[in-house]
């Protein structure tokens, strides 16, 4: 089975004035089609950086990331725009574009509003649809982003610590959704640092101990 996501000889560091932080060196990774991979590691081990590289939000110093064999271009999250990747961020505050929840849901022209509304209902959030996004609580923001995410038809799902703000009910719905998506053959990359969540996946990578070795799942 080929790699849905392939990381090749990746090196990444961050620099600010005289400070430098090395995150990855010679990281190689192959996540097969249909794999459900939990990525864990301590703070600063590069969990969120790996996601940003996969999305093209940052560029690597060396090496590259391929999705379905196509190199991800930094600065242009093409796969997300083409609905090939659905992304649920750790920090939702930066993600909203619309004024109201309805506008936010329709912002992505490729999104399916009825599906999103159905998911909002499943998440018991239908009362939020005409609310101003600025007035949402942290948990509500994450839940609205979750509704967009869960309604996506993308074959690759990338989640960065998605349950941080969710209450019991919505966290349970997320777990159930991911289980169903995995059964349906979607590829899932789930960043988490909680042991119980690591067990949701069929494979796990610990960036503290596994990197920078070659990982073939």
């Amino acid at each position: 089975m080929g790699c849905h996501v392939q990381v090749r000889e990746l090196a990444l560091g961050y620099r600010w004035n005289d400070f430098e932080r090395l995150v990855f060196q010679n990281l190689n990774l192959c996540i097969p089609f249909g794999g459900f991979v939990s990525v864990s590691g301590s703070n600063g081990s590069g969990k969120s950086s790996l996601v940003k590289l996969c999305l093209g939000l940052i560029s690597a110093d060396e090496g590259d990331v391929l999705i379905e064999g196509i190199a991800v271009k930094p600065g242009y999250p093409e796969a997300v725009r083409n609905n090939r990747v659905a992304y649920l961020a750790q920090q939702i505050e930066e993600l909203f574009y619309g004024d109201t929840v309805r506008q936010e849901l329709t912002y992505d022209q490729q999104g399916n509003l009825p599906d999103q509304l159905q998911v909002l209902q499943d998440l018991e959030l239908e009362h939020l649809v005409d609310r101003n996004v600025d007035s949402l609580s942290g948990g509500e923001r994450q839940a609205v982003a979750l509704a967009q995410f869960m309604a996506s038809q993308a074959p690759l799902l990338i989640l960065d610590e998605p349950s941080s703000y969710l209450d019991q009910h919505r966290a349970a719905l997320l777990k159930h959704y991911l289980s169903k998506a995995h059964q349906a053959g979607k590829t899932i990359i789930h960043i988490t640092q909680y042991n119980a969540e690591i067990a949701w996946g069929s494979h796990s990578i610990d960036l503290d101990t596994d990197a920078p070795e070659v990982l073939e799942l």
């Binding site: 007035s135 019991q168 119980a196």
Partner: protein
């Protein structure tokens, strides 16, 4: 002496349906208080409203969920020097950073926030608060992005604050935090639904934590 929280009201532009409206609340004389409730019940609104409430007896320091709102400086030393306008005790600060899991704390002192991960920023912000030692602290979902081990450090440090009469209000879905609290403030749709001593509420047959969104294991649901 019991702690009395003032009656609080808060409304947001663009949201006519949600109003935080809580009465005066009397809490135990010791220990920390947990505010619980499902997403959107008004927990953070209560924290923000309390922090904005001006009173001679209570001046609450609020650590929000989104740290970009408070980590305004380039690094920790610059942040604290700006806030305190005095020379810092680097040794004490390093000790706190070490407790919160930084193996090389001295390196963190002037390390740019911009190069830190979300979890590292959270731990730096917590170290900052324990360095400042305000008498009244509100921590809004302080466990986001940090490990179970660091959560235990946080709980232990909050427990130690009892000795110096510092009062803490913790907003959280985390059962670990809830079960160690002395009081619970339970919110629904911006209203006070229940309030009382935690141990008394927990033995009431009609009271369930899941009704207020509390997660019994951090993420295994």
């Amino acid at each position: 002496m019991s702690l009395i929280l003032p009656a609080l009201k808060r409304q947001y532009p663009g949201n006519e349906t949600f109003v935080l409206n809580t009465p005066e609340i009397t809490l135990s004389d010791k220990g920390y208080t947990c505010v619980i409730g499902r997403n959107g019940s008004g927990k953070s609104s209560l924290g923000e409203a309390l922090a904005e409430h001006r009173s001679d007896e209570q001046l609450w320091y609020y650590l929000p969920q989104y740290l970009d709102r408070i980590l305004f400086a380039e690094n920790l030393v610059e942040q604290l020097e700006t806030m305190l306008s005095q020379t810092l005790d680097h040794s004490l600060l390093s000790e706190l950073l070490y407790e919160f899991g930084f193996s090389e704390p001295k390196r963190v002192l002037d390390f740019p926030f911009i190069l830190m991960s979300g979890g590292e920023r959270r731990r730096v912000a917590l170290s900052c608060i324990f360095y400042l030692q305000p008498k009244h602290i509100i921590l809004d979902e302080p466990d986001i992005g940090i490990t179970a081990k660091e959560n235990m450090v946080l709980l232990s440090k909050i427990g130690n604050l009892k000795a110096v009469d510092t009062r803490v209000i913790l907003i959280s879905h985390n059962h670990e935090f809830v079960k160690g609290s002395s009081d619970l403030i339970c919110l629904k749709e911006g209203r006070l639904d229940r309030v009382g001593k935690t141990d008394e509420l927990l033995i009431e047959p009609s009271f369930t934590l899941s009704e207020y969104g509390v997660r019994f294991q951090r993420v295994d649901v």
